[in-house]
Amino acid sequence: MEIDNRGLMPPEPMVRILAALQGLPAGEELVALMDREPLLLYGELERRGFAWTLDGEDGAYRLTVRRAVG
C-alpha cells in the first residue's frame, strides 16, 4: 500500500498515515511519500506497535511502516 503525502501540511500527513495503518493487513507494509521527515509520528507508531524505516532526503522522503514483530 502506498500513499502520497507530498504537498500536505501538518498534521494531515500524520493523520493519513495513521488512518491507513488502521486497515493494514498483517504482513503488508505501508509506504508513504513525504516532503518532510515526520518527527513526531515515530513515537505514535511505536505506541501502536509499528516499526519503520526512512529513505531519501529532505523534500523526497519514503517512509516504510510495518507491524512490529514480537
Binding site: E2, M14, E37, L39, Y42
Partner: protein
C-alpha cells in the same frame, strides 16, 4: 540511504503554552505606553517611559515567545531533551511574574526595585539558558537552526551580563552609563539574542511551512557567523563611545550577515512548492522590508549630526527600534507563533485519536481573521511609529501605539482561539492508491 529515524518528543503543553499565551501582553503594554507617551519620547531615547516600553516589548513579548519556541523546537525538531519539565514551568512562572514588576520599576525609575526585579528577570533568563542549553547540547540534529539558537543564547548571556553590570553601575556609581554602553546592551539583545535565533529558526521553519527546499546548510551558517562576528566587534567598539566615523563603520558591520540571510530566505520562499501564501508566508515576507529599512535608519542614527540635528537622534533611534523590533522580530514571531501554537494544541489533544476516527485538523483550530488582525495591527503600528518618529509627529506615534496594542490583543485572542473545542470538518482522508 535507509535510516532508522530517531523519535522526537514534544514537551508538555503546560510547559510551552504559557509562554506563547502570555507573551503578547507585553506588546499590549508597550503599545499602551507608546499611545499615551508625552512629546519627550521624541527627545530622549533613554527616558524611563521609553526604556519601560522597549523592555515590555523586547523582554515581555519577544523574549518570552522565543523561550517557549526554544523549548518546543529544541525537542520536537532537533531531538534534544529539556532536562526537567518542572524546572521549565518554574522558570516560566518566574519570568512571567518578574517581567511586569521590572517594567513597572523602570517606568517609575525606582532603581532599588529595578535591581530586585531585574535580578529576578536575570535569574529566569539564566535558568532558561541552562535548561534550553542542555536540550540544545543534546540534540541529534544540527544545521543552521541549532547554530542560530546556540549563538542566540550566547547573545542572551552577553545581554544579561551587560544589563546587570549597567544596573549595578547605576545603583552604586561604578562608572557612567553612556549611550554607547546602552547601545551595546541593546544590540546584543536585538541582534545577538533575538536576531540570531530568528535567523536559525527561520531557516528551518520557512521551508517547512511553505514546502520549500532547505538551502545548502553552509549559506545560513555563513550568515549567522558573519552576523555574530560583526556584532561582537560592534558591541566592543560602540561601548567606548567613539566618534561619528567609527560609529558608522561599526554599524555597517551589522548589515552583511542579515542581508545574506534575507536574500537566502527570499530564494527559499520563491522556490516553494506550496504556492498559496498563508499567514506565515505573509508575515515572513512583510518582515523583510522592515529589516532593510531598519538597517538604513540605523546607519543614519549612527551617523548622527550633521546628518540630523542633535534633537532628532532620539527620533531616528525610536524609528530604528520600531522597525527592527516590531517590523522584523515582531512579524516573524507572529508568523511562527500562529503556526506553532495551533499545531501544539492539536498534537497534544488529538494525535492519539488520529486515524481511529474523525479528528479536527489545524484549519478547525484557527481563526484566520483574528490572525490577520494581529499581523495588520503590528505591521501598521510599526510603520506608523517609525514614520511618526522620523517626521516628529506625535499623532502618528500615538496611532502606532494604539495599533500595536490592538495587534497584541488580537494576537492573544488568535492564539487562545486554538484552545476552544473544535469539531472535525471532515472524515480522515481515504488512502491515495494501493501498490502492487
Amino acid at each position: 540511504m535507509t535510516a532508522r529515524p530517531v523519535p522526537a518528543e514534544s514537551p508538555p503543553l503546560a510547559v510551552v503554552l504559557p509562554f506563547f499565551l502570555a507573551a503578547p501582553l507585553g506588546l499590549v503594554a508597550g503599545g499602551v505606553l507608546l499611545a499615551t507617551a508625552p512629546k519627550d519620547v521624541l527627545v530622549g531615547i533613554n527616558l524611563p517611559r521609553t526604556v519601560a516600553m522597549t523592555h515590555a516589548i523586547v523582554v515581555g513579548w519577544a523574549s518570552t515567545t522565543v523561550m517557549g519556541a526554544t523549548y518546543q523546537l529544541s525537542q520536537a525538531v532537533l531531538g534534544g531533551r529539556v532536562p526537567s519539565y518542572r524546572l521549565a514551568r518554574a522558570q516560566g512562572l518566574l519570568h512571567l511574574a518578574s517581567v511586569p514588576v521590572f517594567v513597572f520599576a523602570v517606568y517609575r525609575w525606582d532603581v532599588a526595585l529595578m535591581g530586585v526585579a531585574g535580578s529576578a528577570v536575570a535569574a529566569s533568563f539564566l535558568l532558561f539558558v541552562g535548561l534550553a542549553g542542555f536540550a540544545l547540547a543534546r540534540t541529534r540534529r544540527g544545521g543552521a537552526i541549532r547554530m542560530g539558537m546556540g549563538a542566540g543564547m550566547a547573545g542572551l548571556v552577553a545581554t544579561l551580563g551587560m544589563g546587570l553590570l549597567w544596573l549595578g553601575a547605576l545603583q552604586w556609581q561604578w562608572f557612567p552609563i553612556t549611550l554607547g554602553r546602552l547601545s551595546a546592551h541593546a544590540q546584543a539583545g536585538l541582534v545577538g539574542w533575538l536576531g540570531l535565533t530568528i535567523m536559525g529558526v527561520s531557516d528551518q521553519l520557512v521551508p517547512m511551512f511553505s514546502l520549500g527546499k532547505h538551502r545548502e546548510a553552509k549559506w545560513p551558517a555563513v550568515a549567522i557567523v558573519v552576523t555574530a562576528t560583526g556584532l561582537v566587534v560592534f558591541a566592543a567598539g560602540i561601548a567606548t563611545d567613539p566618534g561619528r566615523d567609527a560609529r558608522v563603520v561599526l554599524a555597517a558591520l551589522l548589515v552583511p550577515g542579515p542581508a545574506l540571510w534575507a536574500w537566502g530566505l527570499v530564494q527559499a520562499f520563491l522556490g516553494r512548492a506550496r504556492r498559496r501564501v498563508d499567514i506565515h508566508g505573509r508575515a515572513t515576507m512583510l518582515s523583510l522590508p522592515a529589516l532593510g529599512t531598519a538597517a538604513i535608519v540605523g546607519m543614519g542614527a549612527a551617523y548622527g549630526t550633521p546628518f540630523m540635528p542633535d534633537e532628532e537622534a532620539a527620533r531616528w533611534l525610536l524609528a530604528y527600534g520600531a522597525l527592527l523590533v516590531g517590523g522584523f522580530v515582531g512579524a516573524t514571531l507572529i508568523a511562527n507563533s500562529l503556526k506553532i501554537v495551533p499545531f501544539l494544541v492539536w498534537f497534544h489533544r488529538y494525535h492519539r485519536s488520529a486515524g481511529r476516527g474523525p479528528v479536527p485538523l489545524i484549519a478547525d483550530l484557527v481563526n484566520v481573521p483574528l490572525q490577520h488582525a494581529a499581523l495588520a495591527g503590528v505591521v501598521a503600528g510599526t510603520w506608523l511609529t517609525a514614520v511618526g518618529a522620523l517626521a516628529g509627529s506625535m499623532l502618528a506615534v500615538h496611532a502606532g501605539g494604539v495599533a500595536l496594542a490592538f495587534g497584541g490583543t488580537a494576537l492573544t485572542a488568535a492564539l487562545a482561539w486554538s484552545l476552544l473545542p473544535a469539531k472535525s470538518s471532515r472524515q480522515p482522508p481515504a488512502q491515495r492508491r494501493q501498490a502492487g
